[in-house]
Subunit: 351 residues, 2 copies
Amino acid sequence: MVRKVKSRTAGKPPDIRTVAALAKVSIATVSRTINGSPAVSERLSKRVWLAIEQLKYFPNTHARSLVSGRSRILGIIVENITNPFFPELIQSFEEIAVAHGYEILVSSSNSDTAVLASCVRRMLERKVEGVAVLTFGQEEPVLDQLTHRNIPLVLAEFRLDDPKASTILLDYTTGIQAAIHHLAELGHRKIAFLAGPHKLHSAITRENDFRAAMEAAGLAIQKKWVVECDHTLKGGVAGYRQLQELATRPTAILCSNDMTAIGVLRAAYMEGLRVPQDLSVVGLDDIDFAEFTLPPLTTIRLSRTELARAAFEALRQQAEDPGNPKKQREFLVSTSLVVRGSTAAPATAAR
Amino acid sequence: MVRKVKSRTAGKPPDIRTVAALAKVSIATVSRTINGSPAVSERLSKRVWLAIEQLKYFPNTHARSLVSGRSRILGIIVENITNPFFPELIQSFEEIAVAHGYEILVSSSNSDTAVLASCVRRMLERKVEGVAVLTFGQEEPVLDQLTHRNIPLVLAEFRLDDPKASTILLDYTTGIQAAIHHLAELGHRKIAFLAGPHKLHSAITRENDFRAAMEAAGLAIQKKWVVECDHTLKGGVAGYRQLQELATRPTAILCSNDMTAIGVLRAAYMEGLRVPQDLSVVGLDDIDFAEFTLPPLTTIRLSRTELARAAFEALRQQAEDPGNPKKQREFLVSTSLVVRGSTAAPATAAR
DNA sequence: GTGAAAGCGCTAACAA
DNA sequence: TTGTTAGCGCTTTCAC
């Protein structure tokens, strides 16, 4: 028969009781000390911290979450971690979250509803205190799971009628108008748009803003100059080819994201078309890499830091101050044009 | 005086007791059913699952972890999530982990020991069951934290004398030898190497393998042809410039990673040097993007999927089967040459 | 095969 | 200011 040997502490991490015993105080005092409660005398506090250091103790977050009901975990779901835009975004989000004592759970949905559902489920199981859904589309079906459980939520470009949900609006309009203005000023009249997949809200919004900006600039859009791509490099290559087959070709292309623009750059090079002399190209996102394309990409910057900060702020408010009715429910993230080397006057200046 | 109102279940998620009550069984039976214990009759099991579905119940992982001592969380620490190599790696690791019922915690150390220490600390607090340290260097100082707590560990290119630690060895030798052989066969004699930062184990190993491969091919290395860069695109640009200032310039450059090679491609283009006619360039990693550089990059492939799988496998073995003494402690991940468009015979074939 | 009951490590209410 | 104690939601003996 095997008797449980309770005294063998070796190998087992120290717990709050171990600390209390060593510091000769109650476990409540240890808990208070750790959580910075002002109601602990300095004398005891010192003893506790000393014991903590000696034992290299730290609290078990699971026990903490269980009893306090707060996990201090935030979820972030992105569309596709393989698109450089998202790692940069995650990086920022993590930094801010960690600085505020939160842990993050990352998932990519890959624009697949089933995968998204599984992400949401896993986050629910881990009792996240909020989720940033930066998938830019297809959220609706699974979001109920979150709102039903009363989880704070922040969505990009999607307003949800729920008291716990906030929205981040991206002001593409400013950036896109600046881009069209920039091209028009250079003399471009025939401007095409390589759109993102229509299942993404962001893609639709960007396309609409393109149309509006063209109209505002008094420029006509040919139907065939707007092509739906998929926000990947390959998609950009395909979109470019489609444009080149047209009878009247555009002299400039605005792309729904940088990866598409990079695809265009590549395809143009392969066909011997020089950018920007023969064709101007503008991207959107300003991923780190945009600075290093050949030629360096003129693009519309969408700050990942700003976006990450807005997302975190929205969640933190809902999580830490759920009662406050006058919380900010909408956040606006701006865009701006960054002119680099992929735009110039068209070879045959338009008339 | 406020009395606690226990009956108000609205808003509160259902717990195991709610399920037990609805299914008219004990909570033990619910627990057994969920965990697939064979000792539950089909009759009750059905009732339980029905109740679970009706309530949309799922277990609280914190409570589960607390009592079972198993968190089902794995940590992965990478060097820099901004280098495309790592998101691809994380993606694979997550897929495998999730498929096996684990959650993952991601952190990037940014090659900063203090940041690494904080990552490790956070992972410890969350009671991870294992950590994959894919930082390729600088791990030693903080790893004690993990080994002292008896956490399974898997390191890239670093053998740790600890029963819980495994190592993933990357067989650069094969790939690098193939690359040098490929260049030599094309007629190159003057081959330079743009190394990674020496603080990374991987950088050192790759450089050594380059030297060995050159010697094996009977090729001399000029001291100035080996330049330490930093595995970034910018670093590649700088490295290229340094090489171009030399009296006798190399006709081919092997780079310690793809980002460096992309920098070289860019710098060469800026200076009007044609790749591969005037200069051959070889990368290492084969990130997704390598296929789309101009020209498409010849590179040494290091499979992220294979690496992720090895890392997961190592951790799973240690976590789930800690007693087994004949566990695999070392894993080898292979590399192979992928010939694309950035290599060709030198303009003035060496003689 | 099933249930009752003892905790997992911690926080928070209450007592002193 | 400090300590005692009742759980948080679950798994896991141990009886039946």
